[in-house]
């Protein structure tokens, strides 16, 4: 029984020049595993992630033949039911901690706000839970971080705080949208290790959205490759090197490699039928 089932998802934006389809019929199912969604800008990967939480504002519109999470029909759920899911059962980590944390609230207040308001938990207990969450993301001095404001934290630290915040309600599914793209490579490795441990220890499902095919290939179990709102290839991460679709191959080959050949990098050949408008 899968945790999340998405069938023929479409996201359409009404514009002055007619409707623009950001996601054009995406289907996938997710168990308690790590699913990577990869694509370049404009491929619809972020919109797909946000659709699961129904976090797309008008004029954007979500349509799907079916979209269900653990037996709950996400298309039919009321806004009230969705609110009960968001954060509690499905968490989301955004790309840049600089823009996603509240700059005028210290970390401790931000971490405990949900616990105190939603779960009606007392101050001391909420604080203890928040500190435990910070420890779970390997922050060594949680007391100091609790008192800090977001601007006093480094990027990697801020990203850990966001992950900690998402983990406090112990969601069954975590959607991480480019969670490490704003981070330095060595920090990136640490944050990925933390996410990995959480998926394993808590049996959480993870949707990992990224533009970086090589990173996703190493980190996830399964990969969806998106192009212009469609999934062009779905494959096991371990078989990434044997990708069949020309777009996936192109994405892999156009990246420089340490010690690689010095000649021009192969560009992405978009002349195939798959790249045509409306394909």
């Amino acid at each position: 029984m899968s945790l999340l089932e998405v069938k023929n998802l479409r996201v359409t934006f009404a514009t002055e020049t007619g409707p623009v389809e950001a996601v054009r019929g995406v289907s996938f199912s997710l168990g308690r595993e790590r699913l990577g969604i990869v694509g370049e800008s404009g491929s619809g990967k972020t919109m797909t992630g946000r659709s699961v939480l129904r976090l797309i504002r008008p004029p954007g519109r979500i349509e799907a033949d079916a979209m269900s999470f653990d037996g709950v029909d996400l298309m039919a759920a009321s806004e009230r039911e969705m609110r009960a899911l968001r954060g509690n059962r499905i968490g989301m980590v955004m790309q840049d901690p600089k823009y996603s944390l509240n700059p005028v609230m210290n970390v401790g207040e931000q971490l405990t706000e949900g616990l105190r308001r939603r779960d009606r938990i007392g101050r001391t207990e909420a604080r203890a839970k928040a500190i435990a969450a910070l420890e779970a993301v390997q922050i060594r001095d949680p007391e100091r971080v609790m008192a800090a404001y977001p601007h006093e934290l480094s990027g990697g630290m801020g990203q850990r705080v966001m992950i900690a915040m998402m983990l406090i309600p112990e969601p069954d599914l975590l959607i991480a949208d480019e969670p490490t793209s704003a981070l330095d490579v060595t920090v990136q490795a640490e944050v990925l290790a933390i996410l990995d441990g959480l998926v394993r220890d808590r049996g959480m499902g993870l949707i990992f959205i990224s533009h970086d095919l090589r990173l996703v290939g190493r980190f996830c179990d399964r990969i969806l490759v998106m192009y212009k709102g469609k999934v062009v290839e779905e494959l096991e991460a371990k078989n990434l090197a044997q990708a069949q679709h020309p777009y996936t191959q192109g994405l892999l080959n156009c990246l420089p490699r340490i010690g690689g050949a010095r000649g021009p990098l192969p560009g992405l050949d978009r002349s195939g039928d798959w790249a045509k408008e409306g394909a």
């Binding site: 800008s41 490579v185 190493r218």
Partner: protein
């Protein structure tokens, strides 16, 4: 370990013990501390490091955009004048990281490209603008468009064309492809390599991506916390012959190591 190309006197860019200190509200921050490097003509030299390592600050210091508090910068053997004059901009130009921020949003491409010519009193701007667009692989029909009508990759091509309008010898490249998609990055890197070949340019390039630096540069300086950690030739890098733990950790964490 010095190659002949970097022997004193022949270097086109020569930086010695450069220190950059930002001061505000009585606090001092050393962004760069005692960094020395030499780049020979037609060489491509990379600066790599994580955020806050001071790599971009070195480029900014060359252009007088950062407060130099120690050391010296020489271009073609000569100390730079303060403030930098028109001679400097004819020799050295910079391409910035974010093509969305570095082009004037209300100037057409034509105006962006012809402004350096106007400042320097160079004639024939009409033909030169058309040529510049062709050189960076943009259709000449783009000439009277605004930046918002172009994609990120196209904008970065315009930024490169702008930097080349005065036919400089040196290009300072500050993360020129980190805001671009992988396939677009490949196109822009290929363009830069082609232009370097055709025009005999010297590159000083900053990136956080070791694979990009490796692809583009002959030598690379690894930086951390404002200091130079280790200088590596391209071969040393490919064979993982780094001697410092930090350079090694950067190498190990590099994205392209992740797929064996």
């Amino acid at each position: 370990m010095m190659t002949t190309a970097t022997a004193s006197g022949t270097a086109l860019i020569e930086i010695k013990d450069l220190t950059v200190t930002y001061r505000s509200k009585g606090r001092e921050v050393r962004a760069v501390e005692g960094v020395s490097l030499q780049v020979a003509a037609r060489q491509s030299y990379g600066l790599v490091g994580e955020s806050g390592s001071g790599k971009s600050t070195i480029l900014r210091a060359i252009c007088d955009l950062a407060p130099v508090t120690g050391g010296s910068i020489r271009i073609a053997g000569e100390a730079l004048e303060d403030p930098r004059g028109t001679d400097f901009s004819r020799q050295v130009q910079m391409v910035f990281q974010d093509p969305y921020a570095s082009l004037h949003p209300r100037h057409t491409i034509d105006r962006t490209l012809s402004e350096p010519l106007a400042i320097h009193g160079i004639k024939g701007s009409d033909q030169k603008v058309m040529q510049a667009l062709q050189d960076v692989g943009l259709p000449t029909s783009f000439r009277f468009r605004y930046p918002h009508q172009l994609s990120g990759g196209q904008r970065q091509r315009v930024a490169i064309a702008r930097a080349l309008m005065l036919e400089p010898k040196i290009l300072l490249l500050d993360e020129p492809t980190s805001a671009l998609d992988a396939s677009v990055q490949a196109e822009v890197l290929n363009l830069l390599n082609r232009l370097r070949e055709e025009r005999g340019l010297t590159f000083l390039m900053v990136s956080h991506d070791l694979a990009v630096i490796d692809h583009m540069c002959d030598r690379v300086l690894v930086m951390q916390h404002g200091r130079a950690v280790e200088e590596l030739s391209r071969d040393d890098l490919a064979e993982a012959k780094m001697t410092t733990a930090y350079a090694r950790s950067l190498f190990e964490a590099s994205a392209d190591r992740m797929l064996a």
